[in-house]
C-alpha cells in the first residue's frame, strides 16, 4: 500500500479541489476556492474564523456537495454522495467535533463500521483487538490500551483515537481539522510525529491548525483562505508569520480604529475575579473590570472564553476562587445572585440560552425584571407594556407587534431583545459572548454604538468576539485566552489584529518543552 502512494510522484496532486462554490442560504461560504495536495506532503490550511476552511473539509469528506466546482483524486474527477463514499476513496477525516462513543472501547471505536466479522456476522473481537493493536503500534501510539473505555481517556487521547479511526481505513489522504483542540505540548509532539510518519509512508495530510508557529517546522506547503476564497498557496518557508496573518486579514495590518485611551485601574474595580477555577476549563484566572471600560476576550475558539463569562455570571455551581463586585465579595453559583449584583450575560446561543423562542417578544423583554412591575406577584400589565415599549424604542427593535413570537424576528432583532432584557435590569457589568455573530452589518454597527454607550455611561463590558477587528475597534484592552488561562494582555500600541491572532496561535511556543524542537 505504502509503495503505491510513493510511486505517484510529485507532479500530479493526490487530491485537488478546484473552483469550489458553496452557498448556505444567503451566505457564500466558499467562493471559487482551490486546494490541492500532493503525495508526501503536509499541507496546512489557514484562514480566519469563517473563512471557509471547515466547509472545504466537509466537502472533501463527502458531508456537503459543492454547488459548483470539481474534485479530482489522482487526476480522476470524483464526487462523493456521503462520507462513506469519500472514505472508500481513501479520504480519512478527523473533525473538530469528536465523534467517539464514550462507552465503547478504543478498539471498538477505531474499527467502528469496519469490524472484522466471523460466522453469522459475529464480530471477531480477538482479531479486532489485534488489528487495532497493530495499527496503534504502527502509529507509535503505544500508550493507549485497545481495551480502555473511551470515556476514561483524556481529551488529547480521544483525539488520538479519532486519528487512529480515520487511519483504520488506510486512507491516502488524511484531513485533520484540529480546530479548537487543546493539546499539551508533549501531545502536540506526538501528533506531529504521527503526521511525519504518514508523510513518510507517502500519504498526504491536510492540516487545519491555529498553531501557526508550531506547525511551521512540520508543514511543507500552505494555502490561505479568506472570505471563502483561496488567496495564496505557497511553500511554507516563503511565508513568515506576519505574511500569513496579512493574507488571512486581507490587508496590511493597519490601525483603522480610533485608539482608545486606557481606563486607569482603581482600588475597587467594578468586578474583580481572583483565582477563578472551573473544573479543567478555567484555571486560576485573575481579571478586573473597571467602570467605563470595555475589555475584550480573544484567542482561538473554545479556549474557555465562554466558560469564563458563564462563571462570572454565576451559572456554575462549583467554582474555585472569588469574585468581587465593587469590592464586595458576591456569592456566585446562581444567575439570580449574579443578576442581583448587577451582572448581565448576553449568552453564546440566543436560540437556546437567550430567548424563549415560541413566546412573545414582550414576555422575553421583561423576563429578567418581573418583580419590577409585579405587586404581590401580580403583573401590572400597563407597566409591563410601558417598559417593553421603552425598550423597543431605545434599541429600535423592528417588530410589528410585541405580541408576536420572538422567533419571528430577524437574528439581529432577536439579539437586541436579549440585550434589552438585560438593559432593563439596570445591570452595570455586561458580559457579551460574540454578540454580533450572524448579524447583518447595519445591526452590527448599532451594537458597537450600544457597547460604546454602555462604557461611556460608566458601565463595564467584557466582550468575547471571534472577530478580531471588533476587539481592536471596541476594546480598551484585550485579554487573549489559551487553554483556560489568560496568556496575553494587549493594550495601547500593542493592541492590533495581528497581535491578537499571534498571541492566540503561538501559545505554548514559549514553553521549554517546545523549544527543544
Amino acid at each position: 500500500m505504502d509503495a503505491t502512494y510513493a510511486q505517484e510522484g510529485h507532479r500530479r496532486p493526490l487530491l485537488a479541489a478546484g473552483g469550489i462554490v458553496k452557498r448556505f442560504g444567503g451566505t457564500l461560504a466558499l467562493d471559487r476556492a482551490d486546494l490541492a495536495c500532493f503525495p508526501r506532503e503536509i499541507h496546512a490550511l489557514h484562514g480566519a474564523n469563517g473563512a471557509g476552511k471547515s466547509t472545504m473539509v466537509k466537502i472533501l469528506s463527502g458531508i456537503f456537495a459543492p454547488d459548483t466546482g470539481t474534485i479530482t483524486l489522482r487526476g480522476q474527477p470524483v464526487s462523493f454522495a456521503n462520507p462513506r463514499e469519500a472514505a472508500s476513496h481513501g479520504i480519512g477525516t478527523v473533525f473538530q467535533e469528536l465523534s467517539l462513543f464514550a462507552h465503547m472501547t478504543v478498539a471498538e471505536n477505531v474499527m467502528i463500521g469496519r469490524e472484522p466479522t466471523g460466522l453469522l456476522g459475529r464480530i471477531a473481537s480477538g482479531k479486532l483487538r489485534r488489528d487495532v493493536q497493530i495499527l496503534l503500534e504502527r502509529l507509535k501510539i503505544t500508550h493507549l490500551d485497545p481495551d480502555a473505555m473511551v470515556a476514561d481517556l483524556s481529551l488529547a487521547d480521544r483525539q488520538l483515537v479519532e486519528i487512529a479511526k480515520a487511519l483504520a481505513g488506510d486512507p491516502g489522504v488524511l484531513i485533520l481539522d484540529e480546530g479548537t483542540s487543546a493539546l499539551a505540548p508533549r501531545e502536540v509532539d506526538r501528533l506531529f510525529a504521527i503526521l511525519r510518519h504518514l508523510r513518510l509512508e507517502g500519504r498526504a495530510v491536510i492540516f487545519i491548525s491555529h498553531r501557526m508557529a508550531e506547525a511551521r517546522e512540520l508543514v511543507d506547503r500552505v494555502t490561505i483562505f479568506r472570505n471563502g476564497q483561496s488567496v495564496v498557496t505557497a511553500p511554507m518557508q516563503d511565508l513568515d508569520d506576519e505574511a500569513i496573518v496579512e493574507h488571512m486579514l486581507g490587508r496590511r495590518v493597519e490601525q483603522s480604529f480610533e485608539r482608545k485611551a486606557g481606563v486607569p485601574p482603581s482600588v475597587t474595580p467594578l468586578l474583580r475575579a481572583r483565582g477563578l477555577t472551573v473544573a479543567d476549563r478555567i484555571k486560576d484566572l485573575d481579571l478586573t473590570l473597571e467602570a467605563g471600560e470595555v475589555v475584550g476576550l480573544g484567542g482561538r475558539e473554545g479556549q474557555g472564553q465562554g466558560d469564563l463569562l458563564l462563571a462570572l455570571f454565576g451559572a456554575y455551581r462549583r467554582l474555585g476562587g472569588r469574585i468581587e463586585c465593587r469590592g464586595q465579595p458576591i456569592r456566585t453559583g446562581t444567575p439570580w445572585r449574579g443578576k442581583a449584583a448587577g451582572i448581565a450575560l448576553i449568552p453564546e446561543d440566543r436560540k437556546v440560552q437567550g430567548l424563549l423562542q415560541p413566546m412573545g417578544i414582550l414576555p422575553n423583554l421583561t423576563l429578567a425584571t418581573l418583580p419590577r412591575f409585579a405587586r404581590h406577584g401580580l403583573i401590572n400589565r400597563g407597566q409591563e407594556d410601558a417598559l417593553a415599549g421603552n425598550l423597543q424604542d431605545r434599541l429600535a427593535i423592528k417588530a410589528a407587534s410585541l405580541r408576536l413570537p420572538v422567533r419571528s424576528l430577524s437574528g439581529g432583532n432577536q439579539q437586541k431583545v436579549v440585550l434589552a432584557k438585560w438593559l432593563a435590569t439596570g445591570a452595570d457589568i455586561f458580559l457579551f459572548y460574540d454578540p454580533t455573530r450572524g448579524i447583518d452589518v447595519g445591526t452590527k454597527q448599532s451594537f458597537y454604538r450600544l457597547i460604546e454607550e454602555l462604557a461611556a455611561t460608566g458601565k463595564a463590558v467584557l466582550l468575547y468576539s471571534t472577530e478580531t477587528a471588533e476587539l481592536v475597534g471596541l476594546c480598551h484592552r484585550v485579554l487573549v485566552m489559551n487553554d483556560g488561562r489568560i496568556t496575553a494582555e494587549l493594550k495601547g500600541d500593542g493592541l492590533s489584529e495581528a497581535a491578537i491572532i499571534q498571541a492566540g496561535a503561538s501559545a505554548g511556543v514559549a514553553s521549554p518543552e517546545r523549544a527543544l524542537h
Binding site: F313, A315, T334, P335, W336, G338, K339, A340, L345, P347, V352, Q353, G354, L355, L356, Q357, P358, M359, P363, L367, A368, L370, P371, A374, G377, L378, I379, S401, R403, L404, P405, S408, K421, T425
Partner: protein, 324 residues
C-alpha cells in the same frame, strides 16, 4: 398566539392544535349533546350536578398536573399520594383531632410528597416520569405498612360528607371549591410573575435559568401544588365516599392527565393553560358517563382514553414541529 397563524399555511391539524382550547370547548358541547341524545336523563339538573361533583375531583387534580405539565414534567405519584393523604387525615380525625388538624395533616403531607418529587427532578435531575413513578410505588408501600394489613379506619362524620356534597346556591360544595381554585389557578398562570416563570421554564429551562429565574424554585412550587391538589382531592373523595380505602386514587392518574392534554396543554411544556384543562376535565367526565350509558366496560374506557391521549399528543407534537 393568533398572530402566529398569519402568513403560514394552515393545515386542519395545525388549526386544531393552534385553537386547542376552542376545539376542546366545541367538542365538549358536542359530547354533551351526544350524551343527552343517548339518554335524555343525562340533561337533568340532578345528573348534571352529580357529573359536576365528579368533575371537581378530576379538575382539582388537573390543577396540579397543569402546573407540572406546563414546566415539561408530569406527576405520576397522584394515586397513592391522594390515598395516603386521605388515610392520614381520616386516621388523624378518628384519633380525636379536629377537622382543621386532619385536613392540615393531609394537605401538608401531600405538599411534602410534592416537595420530595421536586427534589428528585430539580436537584438530582432525574426525569419526573421515573422519579414520580417511583414515589408512587414508595407511597403505596408506606401506606400498606402504615395500615398494617387492616382496612383503613374510617369514621367519617356526616359533616365531612356535607362539606363535599352539600348544596350552596345550587352547586355542590366541592364544585364551588373547584370554581374558586380554578379562578385562582387561571389568575396565577396568566397574571402573576410566578405564572410567567412557569411558562418560561417549560418553554426553555436554560434560557429561563440564564435570565436569572430560579428554575429549581419553580419546579419545587409546581410539584408542591400538584401534591397538595392530590391531597385535597383525596379529602374530597373521602367525604364523598364516607370512607377511605386502598385504591381510592387508582382512577385519578390517567384521567386528569388526559383532561390537561385534551385541554390543549403541551406535554412538552410551555404552552396551554388551565382554561383548556377545565374543558378537558368536563369532557373526560362526560365521556366516562357516555361510555357507561353505552354499556362500555372498563376495558373499553381505558382503550378509548389511551387512544385519545395518543391521538392528541401526535397532533400537537406535529404542530410543534411544523411551527419550528
Amino acid at each position: 398566539m393568533n398572530a402566529t397563524l398569519q402568513g403560514r399555511r394552515s393545515s386542519p391539524a395545525l388549526l386544531i392544535a393552534e385553537h386547542s382550547v376552542l376545539v376542546a370547548y366545541i367538542l365538549l358541547l358536542l359530547l354533551v349533546g351526544v350524551a343527552i341524545a343517548l339518554n335524555p336523563a343525562f340533561g337533568s339538573l340532578g345528573n348534571l350536578k352529580a357529573q359536576l361533583l365528579i368533575a371537581s375531583f378530576v379538575g382539582i387534580i388537573a390543577i396540579g398536573q397543569t402546573f407540572v405539565i406546563l414546566t415539561g414534567h408530569i406527576d405520576l405519584s397522584v394515586p397513592w399520594n391522594l390515598t395516603f393523604s386521605a388515610i392520614l387525615a381520616a386516621t388523624c380525625y378518628a384519633n380525636g383531632y379536629g377537622i382543621p388538624a386532619a385536613f392540615g395533616l393531609g394537605i401538608g403531607f401531600g405538599a411534602l410528597v410534592g416537595a420530595f418529587n421536586a427534589v428528585g427532578v430539580a436537584i438530582f435531575r432525574v426525569h419526573s416520569l421515573v422519579w414520580t413513578l417511583a414515589t408512587n410505588a414508595l407511597l403505596q408501600g408506606l401506606a400498606l405498612l402504615y395500615i398494617n394489613g387492616q382496612p383503613p379506619r374510617s369514621t367519617i362524620p356526616p359533616f365531612w360528607r356535607d362539606m363535599v356534597t352539600g348544596d350552596v346556591g345550587g352547586l355542590p360544595m366541592a364544585a364551588l371549591l373547584w370554581l374558586v381554585l380554578a379562578v385562582l389557578t387561571i389568575v396565577v398562570l396568566k397574571r402573576t410573575s410566578f405564572g410567567r416563570k412557569v411558562y418560561a421554564t417549560g418553554t426553555n429551562e436554560t434560557a429561563a435559568f440564564l435570565s436569572g429565574i430560579d428554575t429549581r424554585l419553580v419546579y419545587l412550587t409546581v410539584f408542591i401544588i400538584s401534591g397538595a391538589s392530590s391531597a385535597v382531592a383525596g379529602l374530597l373523595l373521602t367525604g364523598y365516599a364516607s370512607q377511605t380505602y386502598l385504591g381510592m386514587g387508582n382512577d385519578y392518574l390517567l384521567v386528569p392527565i388526559a383532561a390537561v392534554i385534551i385541554g390543549g396543554t403541551s406535554v412538552l411544556g410551555g404552552t396551554g393553560g388551565y382554561v383548556g384543562s377545565i374543558a378537558g376535565t368536563l369532557m373526560v367526565v362526560v365521556l366516562q358517563a357516555v361510555l357507561s350509558t353505552a354499556q362500555i366496560g372498563q376495558a373499553g374506557k381505558n382503550i378509548i382514553f389511551g387512544g385519545i391521549i395518543l391521538l392528541l399528543v401526535l397532533l400537537y407534537g406535529r404542530a410543534a414541529r411544523v411551527n419550528d
